[in-house]
Amino acid sequence: MPTLIIDNQSVTVPEGTNVLEAAQQLGIVVPHFCYHEALGAVGACRVCAMLFIDGPVKGMQMSCMVEAKDGMVVSTEAPEAVAYRSQVIEWLMLNHPHDCPVCDEGGECQLQDMTVASGHSVRRYSGKKRTYQNQDLGPFIAHEMNRCIQCYRCVRTYQDYCGGTDYGVLGANQRLYFGRFRDGPLESPFAGNLVDICPTGVLTNKPYRFTSRFWDLQEALSVCPHCSLGCAVIPGARFRELQRVRAGVNPEVNGWFICDRGRFGYDYVNHPDRPRTPLLHGEELPWSEALEALQQRLSELIDRHGSDSIALLGSGRASLESNYLLRRLGEQLGTAAPVYGSHAARDRAARAVTDLAAKLSASLAEVRSSDLLLVMGADPLAEGPMLALAIRQAVRNGGRVMLCDPRPVELPCSAEHLPCQPQELPQLLRILAAGENLPANLQPLADALQQAKRPVLIGGSDLLGAEGSAALLAAAQKLNSAERPCRTMILLPETNSFGAALLAGDGPDFDQLLNDMDSGRIKALLCLEADPLTDCPDRKRLLQGLEQLEFLAVLDHLPSLTAKKADLLLPTTAVAEGAGTLVNNEGRMQAFAQVFSPGEPLRFTGQGGHPPRNFSSTTPGALPCQAWAVLAELCGLPVNLAEIRRELAAKEPRLAGLPELSAEGPGQRVLPGNGASSSVPPAVATADESLQLLVCETLYGSEPLSALSAPLDPVCPHPYVLLQELDAARLGIAADDLVQLTAGGQQLALPARLSSRMAEGLVIVPRLRGTELESFYPGQPPLPCRVEKVSTP
Amino acid sequence: MNDLLLTGLLMLIKLGMILAVLLTMAAYLVLAERKLLARMQRRYGPNRVGFGGMLQPLADLIKLLTKEDFLPAQADKWLFLLAPGLAAVTALLAFAVVPFAPPLELFGRQLPMVVCDLNVGILYFFGLSSLAVYGVALGGWASNSKYALLGALRAMGQMLSYELAMGLSIVPVILMARSFSLTEIVQAQASLPFALTNPLAFGIFFIAALAESKRTPFDLPEAENELVAGFHTEYSGMRFGLFFVGEYLNLVVLGAIITSLFLGGWHGPLLPPIIWFLGKVLAVAFVFIWIRGTLPRLRYDQLMAFGWKALLPLALVNLLATGGILLWLGGAS
């Protein structure tokens, strides 16, 4: 622990810290461009210069390149250091264009800040400025190369951190160029981080282009709702419109970066079809009357059919507080416990994960520092993209990745792929849990596990199911020991699946609800931010059940199918418009703060031109209420989030610490469960010879919120069917052929794609919302199917 | 019976005339003050309503009457509503003892040109002027506003301090006139006004009267640059108007009292007595306005120090000296 003196202040820092970080710990603002907490130091930009007066090194040094040592005396304010830095800024500004007013970075530009801070205001050099041609980098990133100051941050982020290969530095000498070999969209799903990382306006956010200035945005610390990892994000809104999302910092979860799905999937908040007024049978009515109607209908049905006739449906999309208040409402009405999740198999899997002793679960930070990652039936890029990035960091640190998956899982790093059938996965895990010998073809895996010091078992709840997840947990428990900690990370389907499953406990699942609806016992259904019509795999039965209902009430902020069928629709707020808590897949409670109040975006009310010229004391479209507040009102509780959190923490001992949670900070783990369900499930019969249809999620297009986001439209894949090359050859199918897929009573004509890396005997389709593939559901056992060639293109 | 009716009728006419003249004077004094102050500052003053702004008081009245009568949420309602009336009524009542002309011979009877010639008129006047502070104090307290309360406290402190000096400065006058009745005091000045025979008493009384009327340089209770508007910060509409009317009525009444006590009342050569009386009152009012246009406001501690350390001893000395001289003269006569 070296102690050094910076600007007459003494600071003690851990071994290996550089002087720049030490100075930042003292609260000294050190100008820097190339240094970044996540990327480290390269000493390229020369603006963090400090004068080293005493100690092992002396003279003018780049503070990011000098390791803090005992006895160092450093000055950031020495006249030589100040002059040095301002000269460097002046050089950097030699070729920088005079275009801050039309640059989107203006206001949050590090170069701007440093230039102003250094006092540089007049260009003394009279030579001409260097210029470049720009490139079209796709729908997310705008390129303006003239503004570049050659700090290399983008290349280090894109190539080193994110594993992208299609963007880099070209040219030589005074002609350094940061771009692609030729125009075209950036391929990495983490390309959006270039926007955050670029210290000037070379790489800016294209959907956000010319929309707002940083200082005009309403921003707050929030949590990304687009997968179960719960990355920290900072959404920015202006004129009642969510306009962009930038990465927040949570060292335990996402670090400094987020994926493009989280960054560009925000537009569902501004969706023009979003429910914005309470509707009773399609008629608008004020909130007070809507709540009265709801209470009246419910009590009427309870009087007539008993409290058993009311069913409540929560979801993994709703916050912990609103899901809890739904249960509380059920207790008050005397109904059965709410069902959490419209997809029974996914719900069961999530509950299996929730049972895990939370001390076994790995955070993304632990994944990043692991030395062996066993990815069993998880597709990180599709189910939790930042996990893929965390895996890459583990590999960069010398870790090893082994993939057991029937799908051709892509990772932004090297990985050993061991194709296997979906039903083999639980089997495999069972063997691991029992401590038996693995089959011969998986010998490398056994060896690797033997040598690993900090292995992490990664699974996906969709492919593993409840049994597989339980087996994975059992395996981790078996492998875990004091000298060799073994952790698990299981990807869940929705952002708050963990929280919802934790509240569900031993409650009923959606299959039981379907049975009750079939029997006609259920007369009313109240859905909390749930869309069973899209998510329930048994849509036919559900539709029949819904027909028999007398009353369907929906609280939601999405224009969902269920919302359209609702008798009573109560508009709620999206994550950015409210406050609450989400529990991510590792059991980390994370509070999010309200970014802005709901309202119809000015872009719509003004129709692109100037806003309407009239006075009004009401905000158009401002009626959506936070779901927890609506439910608290229905329960007759005070509408006070802190009080609800206190009550919830008292009722659910595992959620202790919830009342102290704040949107700042890394969040807090829920307390460990009893781990009761780690009993090893029985083996499943192997499937027959015919082709099996496996439905899986994709990076874009599967997740319900981002599927409604316009900026992601250009990258959403078109429907396709994926076949193993050998199977395809057997069936006489070539790539891009149109094939007919027959499964589950449906016939679809889709273009074929081929892969050599997937398991044989499988047919894979992505579940793409809003396409014909929406009627296939992930998280189900594979369906027997038939594939026939229709035509060649 | 007929006689009584006639007396009553004459009394009513007299009262009505006095009331009309007083209120009109108060209203036009506002205008006169604004115009004079403006001219002293090389401005025009109000000149939009009517010829040369002559209808400005009417416009102000309409404005004040049509404005919202605002009652602060936390105010003491009844005291708040009562206070402005108290301020205006005490000023009006004080005029009852002021003789403005010699008694008139009308229908064969003596009609005194005073509402009520009390034999303790001076004491009555002092009683009412002490009551007037209640209007200010209650208004400031009932507003439940820190500015109003501070203004009210200042007003009370100031009035207490100056009433003493004021009272003491009058004792020599009473000694000289040998009466408490204002009419008799005026009669005693038929030859020479007391302002000349006892200028020190006149000076003390004049300064104390300035302080009593809360005018510059003693306008601390409503010092607008510290206390927003002092005791009437929370008042609006006609209630504020009543404070305003009370203030200018007070100006007239003090002018009349000063005229009666020191300037010889209606006595004067050539012109009819009522003109002399009005002229003297207006002259006093002009001097008040002139002072407002010229002198800055005192600091509160200066005000107190001046009252207690300068005016009060001076008044006492003056009382002793006048008494001594009168004894000596009385002994001689």
Binding site: P97, H98, D99, C100, P101, V102, G106, G107, K128, K129, R130, T131, Y132, Q133, N134, E144, N146, L170, G171, A172, N173, Q174, R175, Y177, R209, F210, T211, S212, R213, W215, D216, F239, L602, G606, G608, G609, H610, P611, R613, N614, F615 | L36, A38, R39, M40, Q41, R42, R43, Y44, W290, I291, G293, T294, L295
Partner: protein, 176 residues
């Protein structure tokens, strides 16, 4: 203590105010009499045009950031040629305090102050002015300034085509 000075200081002002009482007022009776404004008097703002006759405003939001009373709002948009401009630009003159900070902040010289000061109105909505109301057809006090000729991002000239720019570099050359 200089008693004589104090007495003089108390009574001399009375003479001055009395003298002033009889002097002619210096007031200019505004609606009837109007004073001649200095030529560079700064009252309400205008939006000027560049030498090509295009709007100078690039909707950079600096004026709305500088505005101490938040009376300016706007939305930027991009034209087909990449030019940034204001889709709408609104100023609420009912709120404006005519401080001129917007003109000072304006990096493109689009906002300048004109000498028009008579904006009084009884209808507040008539005091909300849009871009069309503010645009004038001249360049104001600096008619030759053209922001995009100096920006170096190739909107009015091809990239690298402005006077103070080199042609775009050839990144594929190996020459030193």
């Amino acid at each position: 203590m200089n008693l004589w000075r104090d007495i003089k200081g108390t009574f001399q002002p009375f003479w001055i105010t009395l003298r002033y009482l009889f002097k002619r007022p210096v007031t200019i009776s505004y609606p009837e009499q109007k004073r001649t404004l200095p030529p560079r008097y700064r009252a309400r703002m205008i939006l000027t045009r560049d030498p090509d006759g295009e709007e100078r405003c690039v909707a950079c939001h600096l004026c709305s950031a500088a505005c101490p009373v938040d009376c300016i709002s706007m939305q930027a948009a991009e034209r087909a040629d990449g030019r940034r401009h204001a889709a709408w630009f609104r100023i609420n003159f009912a709120r404006c305090i005519y401080c001129g900070l917007c003109a000072e902040a304006c990096p493109t010289l689009a906002i300048q102050m004109s000498s028009e000061y008579e904006l009084g109105n009884r209808d507040l909505l008539k005091l909300v002015w849009e871009k069309e109301d503010l645009l004038v057809d001249h360049g104001g006090k600096d008619p030759d300034y053209h922001f995009y000729r100096h920006t170096g991002i190739g909107v009015v000239a091809p990239r690298g085509g402005n006077n103070d720019e080199l042609p775009p570099v050839d990144i594929k050359t190996n020459l030193p």
